[in-house]
């Protein structure tokens, strides 16, 4: 059996593959967005002065890092409707279940990334923000958080890419994302190489696009003026500034 380029191409351009890829990207993006929001809240609990808050935040991170994501998905999809009749309705789709599962698990990891990013911001920044009279929430939103985001961006990019590939776990709750789409194609035709290659190309294209987006975002967080060609003081990046 040789590699049939026709089959590969028709798989690559099929609406099933496109739909599968779209599901993977949408699931990863939505989950990541909510994971970041929940994770920020958990990170704030973790660095709070309040002992109870720190304990709650710590417990969240401990719990969701300890249990396998696969188990979380199975619990939400299979055990959920048994325990809560409301979840037996049609609106409770595999996509929604997977979204909830990925978001709450990923939030534990994002909480740790954001916690260390928040702690990495120099104390003098917080002090100066308080000194000019900013109230506590603005000290966080206007001064500390923007600087923490810069630190959190590269590891968050890692998480997003990992998340994209983890979406294949959702096949166990019958979500037909990208990898499952390839698997279904294989089981119908036994053309392993062609269908797996098509999936591979999709993943490469998607991750390349994500990395491009990440680079664009990181460029916005360089904090250098345009047209400045020298980086005079320590602590700045060694990159030459063009823009």
């Amino acid at each position: 059996m040789t590699f049939d380029f026709e089959i590969f191409l028709s798989a690559l351009t099929s609406s099933e593959f496109f739909r599968g890829a779209w599901l993977s990207v949408a699931l990863a993006a939505a989950s990541m967005l909510f994971a970041t929001l929940i994770g920020f809240g958990v990170a704030l609990l973790r660095i709070s002065d309040n002992r109870l808050a720190r304990t709650v935040g710590g417990a969240y991170v401990w719990f969701f890092r300890a249990i396998p994501t696969l188990l979380v998905l199975l619990i939400i999809w299979n055990a959920g409707p048994q325990l809560f009749p409301a979840l037996r309705e049609n609106w409770f789709s595999p996509f929604l279940a997977a979204f909830i599962g990925f978001a709450v698990v990923e939030a534990a990891y994002m909480a740790e990334i954001l916690r260390s990013a928040l702690l990495s911001v120099d104390d003098g920044q917080r002090l100066a923000a308080r000194a000019i009279g900013l109230p506590p929430h603005k000290v966080m939103l206007k001064v500390v958080l923007p600087q923490a985001v810069k630190v959190a961006l590269p590891p968050t990019g890692n998480e997003f890419i990992a998340m994209l590939k983890y979406t294949s776990l959702a096949s166990v709750i019958s979500l037909r994302e990208l990898l499952t789409t390839a698997q279904v194609g294989v089981s119908n035709t036994f053309r392993y190489a062609e269908y797996y290659s098509a999936a591979l190309v999709y993943y490469l294209v998607i991750v390349t696009a994500l990395m491009g987006v990440q680079t664009l975002i990181e460029r916005r967080y360089r904090w250098v003026s345009s047209g400045v060609t020298t980086a005079p003081t320590a602590g700045t990046t060694k990159e030459t500034v063009t823009v």
Partner: protein
């Protein structure tokens, strides 16, 4: 006959762990005065600025601005209790603070470092804030660098922007915490000359510093802190040439 103090501390105490840094300090400054504060490290001179700028609570004693106690409110039993952070933040705008390490906001360019307090604390409209910030940056000689980020500036330039950032909020008094200690020697003078201009324009200033020449030339009074108390306080001429206390003589002999 003494006039009413602009900023005054009464019996100010502060302890970190088992280390009593301020042992009941009475300190005051009148409107338009410049006071230089000298002292060895750990003497409490920086701590008193932190307390007067309401960045940290005192353990005991009070701070008065225009004769009115700040940083506290009266609790239900009539005793004064520290204000919550949100209300403290409001009162801080009356007191400008300049730090040894500048602490410019790294993610904002020079202009936005200066407008942030105006727009986010005083609710000044964007255009008006930019206008006022530009004027202030001109005053500290930084109007050519408004679009630069802190990492692109020298230490002296950063400190001048930091002065503008505090000044633009129109504080009643400016506190300087060793403003030139983190600077390369050749950059010290550009910051001191901005401060001297400020003093000549009538700004009330408390300057914790090691620059004795600046203290001698600009200050109306010089105070020596040691071990949490004010050892001596006198006009610069007397302080530097005929100090009353042995401790002052000893301190001066080390820095000259």
């Amino acid at each position: 006959m003494t006039s009413i103090a602009l900023l005054e501390t009464i019996g100010l105490r502060k302890t970190y762990g088992s280390n009593e840094i301020l042992k009941g300090v009475d300190f005051s400054i009148e409107a338009g005065q410049v006071k230089a504060v000298l002292g060895p490290s750990g003497s409490g001179k920086s701590t008193i600025l932190r307390l007067m700028s309401l960045l940290e609570p005192a353990d005991a004693g009070s701070i008065l601005l225009h004769g009115k106690e700040i940083g506290v409110e009266s609790g239900r039993d009539g005793r004064s209790i520290p204000l919550p952070e949100r209300k403290l933040a409001r009162e801080r705008t009356n007191i400008g603070m300049v730090f040894q390490k500048f602490n410019l906001f790294a993610h904002l360019d020079v202009l936005h470092n200066v407008t942030l307090g105006l727009t986010e604390v005083h609710g000044v409209a964007k255009g008006e804030a930019v206008h006022r910030a530009e004027r202030m940056l001109e005053r500290v000689g930084m109007s050519q660098r408004m679009r630069h980020y802190p990492s692109e500036l020298s230490g002296g330039q950063q400190q001048r922007v930091a002065i503008a950032r505090a000044l633009v909020l129109d504080p009643a008094v400016m506190l300087f915490d060793e403003p030139t200690s983190a600077l390369d020697p050749e950059l010290v003078n550009e910051v001191l000359s901005v401060m001297e201009d400020l003093a000549q324009q009538g700004m009330t200033m408390i300057v914790v510093t090691h620059e004795t020449r600046f203290a001698r030339r600009v200050a109306d009074e010089v105070a020596l802190f040691d071990s949490g108390v004010i050892v001596e306080q006198a006009p610069p001429e007397q302080f530097f040439t005929a100090p009353e206390h042995e401790r002052t003589r000893e301190f001066l002999s080390h820095i000259h």
